[in-house]
Symmetry: C2
Subunit: 485 residues, 2 copies
């Protein structure tokens, strides 16, 4: 067993990663002529600045994790394409490790835990020697660019690297594409992480009330996820936005640390996702902190929820994600028109990108070992748009079975965006400023599910949440008897 | 006000950092002839590997924080020694920041919050222009080596740096030494962080019982610290060791992630410390998870607690920390001899470093903006010893008023260390192997307080904890009525 934390949490089998490696080998055999060998470098332990400690311990790099499932730091992994064999190379630990950090396990322990074909502690020439033994004609290294941030994951470094023929371009698109399509074993872990997210969101909804601070609800969410679900890490910083803060998409960071008090009448837009065995969830629940929607909150909530549901039904294999974004925008624009906030032709507003004033972010993204999972601009992706809203789409691909996507339409009243739109005659003509004023300061609503794309109907992994206004109000009406947290 | 999280948490005044800057200027005026200017670079936002997110948001670099108290990332700070003026340079944010991350505050907002003399957004030539305006003859940059890990904090980089006369050696020892001696305003924050640590440890002790997992108690500790104390960050990874794991000093890391179940009879050695406004606590409580010490646990606990109390009383200004380490070892060795585990002359065993078999770590360290705070080998420090135990001392200095130290004697039954000692005839002759066998697997005990050194008697900031065996058993006997966490 490669991972479990507590007897009531999910057991993860090392077969998950063995299967991933097999898939990688199968793909590489189609592209690489002969005697090609993959060398991957795992994450290195890092600390705060120049200190020797940090708040949370090491978290594995996701590409390495996908291939080996290894939680320990400073490892390497080798995959021989010809023989199909995999070799794990944990660091040879200093004997003092046993005093400070835990038992020094033998190679056999790693072999049993992670089920690679071989395990060797990594001494100065271990990798070089193995590569010569395998008669490696070509070494495939991973150089991975993040298509959202542009950040680069640099290729593995090792002793004797210059003795080999190095290829840093073949591996990335193949490995990233394999990460896009989830196996049954991966889906099992993702379903578990999403279930824990749903449990924690429900706990917050049952216990929240005006007077608490946003950060206290973050704390309750994290505690529920870890105490009951074994989720020590989170896929991203918890967003515990309330009231006007709900219009700030990545609220909760160091400039806005979930520090506001919850006031009667505030909407909450809580976007929080625990990670289990490095697979993350990414779920947003929007609800009034007092348990009863105002009439205006109902209007905004319903148009967002309708967008979420419509996309869920329309997002099928073969459908382009960009179209889904436009579909969500259309529903939101129509809803805002019905509410009297916008006026004019919806298709014309779509064309003019009025939708991006209210939903500035992309409709969603892949989810997996990262919240914004890789591969969004591989395959049949269209080039990144430069238009408002569309430029933030993290993928423009057509959907396929076993893709896991976050569907997260939202509608926000962000002063910066609204003021900019009102100052632009091309856009301001669509706005009913008097009606808009009534909604300013209301914040925003996002309804985010994690969904597996299937040919015969999608699977909403987060279906186990109260989502309609009636469900939410009924659910929040039943307070936990025992809310001594 | 530079920081508060929730109305029941501590208000931190920007005067704390203004006073720190004044102290720095006063010291620098003694060393730097004229027209010297300090330039400090704050921490930069960083993410997991090549992604664009992380579990927790940015945490400021501690030297920069000491001088400016600024929580936001990517800032610079300038201090003009001649005029005594300080200038804060926050980054000029992209307008889209308002959509994604929060309101873009004007320079006046930073001025009011942090009370520097000037605030300017940092454009390409801002720093260069300011330095020319100040007619800077010498630029003092911080190059700080961590004396435990050897890691380097690199000097600030900025446009036009090569136009100036740069000094990277003067600032470090002065700034680090100032961090060693805490002001009243700093002590107020440290007392608060320690108080929250004590509250959270007590909550764990009141609710723990066999059957829970170690990580569940970590979760309860973190939740109590954040929910009730506003502590979002922790000074280090929570150590939730139980049973034999209590002999692993930095248990709780990725190789040993607090994953053991608590069994009846297990000792707990819980070393956990929340951070408030970047000032951390570092507190260890040792207690039996079932609330009743076994006879053997009592023996080990009492000798460690006696070492803790004796050091607390003996640690006065002018006393060398190394002597305190030896004092603690002497008490532990005597206790182990009384217990029949060791045999022979205590002073001889001290000389032979038998103490380091049972307490392999140093007695303690400075505490402040880092758990292992800076300056341990400045001042009148003796060179780092190469002897067992003593080589891990994080300081060898004599004590001064306003130093804050963690006093953390411990006694552990670590198989690796015991086997090594028994295999060495020079050491094995002191061991009663039959008696020792009875204690193998018992784990270990550490009693760690955070203490301010004062001329007229030290201040134990963590005095508010049950510490004697009687106190602990009485306290743990009263279970919380309402332990629905
Ligand atoms: Mn999302
Ligand atoms: Mn300590």
């Amino acid at each position: 067993m490669s991972f479990q934390l507590g007897e009531n949490t999910l057991k993860v089998t090392p077969k998950l990663f063995a299967e991933n490696r097999t898939r990688l080998i199968d793909e590489l055999r189609k592209k690489v002529s002969h005697s090609g060998v993959v060398v991957l470098e795992g994450g290195k332990e890092r600390f705060r600045y120049n200190t020797d400690f940090d708040d949370l311990p090491f978290r594995q790099e996701s590409y390495f994790f996908w291939a080996f499932g290894v939680h320990e730091s400073d490892c390497y992994g080798i995959i021989d394409i010809d023989s199909g064999k995999s070799i794990l190379l944990p660091p040879r630990l200093h004997p003092d490790f046993a005093i400070w950090s835990g038992k020094i396990e033998p190679e056999s322990w790693f072999l049993e835990k992670y089920e690679t074909d071989e395990v060797h502690f990594n001494d100065k020439d271990t990798i070089r020697d193995i590569l010569h033994r395998l008669n490696a004609q070509q070494i495939l290294l991973l150089r991975a660019e993040n298509t959202d941030s542009g950040s680069i994951l640099e290729p593995a470094e090792f002793e004797g690297k210059d003795e080999f023929n190095i290829d840093i371009t073949t591996l990335y698109p193949i490995l990233a594409e394999l990460r896009v399509i989830k196996t049954d074993l991966e889906l099992e872990v993702l379903r578990y992480a999403v279930q824990i997210a749903c449990d924690a969101h429900r706990t917050v909804m049952r216990n929240i009330q005006p007077g608490y601070y946003e950060y206290q609800m973050e704390s309750l969410f994290r505690h529920t996820s870890y105490f009951h679900g074994g989720c020590r890490y989170f896929g991203y910083t918890c967003i515990g936005a309330s009231g006007c803060n709900a219009a700030i998409l990545h609220y909760g960071n160091q400039n806005s640390p979930n520090s506001k008090k919850l006031y009667d009448g505030d909407i909450c837009c809580f976007d929080m996702g625990p990670e289990y065995n490095c697979y993350t969830s990414d779920i947003t629940c929007s609800f009034p902190c007092n348990g009863k929607f105002s009439e205006k909150q109902k209007i905004i909530y319903n148009l967002v929820y309708e967008a979420n549901q419509t996309v869920f039904k329309a997002a099928k294999p073969g459908v382009r994600w960009t179209e889904m974004h436009i579909l969500a925008e259309r529903i939101i624009l129509k809803g805002l028109k019905d509410a009297g906030i916008l006026t004019g032709d919806v298709e014309e507003m779509l064309e003019k990108r009025v939708g991006a004033v209210f939903m500035p972010h992309g409709l969603g993204h892949f989810v997996g070992l990262e919240i914004h999972d890789v591969g969004g601009y591989l395959g049949d992706a269209l080039p990144r748009s430069s238009l408002p809203g569309l430029k933030y789409l993290r993928t423009t691909r057509t959907l396929k079975e076993r893709m896991v996507v976050a569907i997260e339409p939202g509608c926000y009243f962000n002063d910066t965006l609204l003021d900019k739109a009102l100052a632009d005659p091309e856009l301001s003509k669509y706005f009913n400023n008097e009606a808009l004023k009534e909604y300013r300061g209301i914040g925003g609503v996002r309804v985010e599910d994690n969904v597996v794309i299937w040919e015969n109907g999608n699977e909403n992994m987060s279906a186990d949440l109260p989502r309609t206004i009636e469900e939410i109000e009924a659910f929040m009406g039943k307070k936990d008897d025992n809310n001594n947290f």
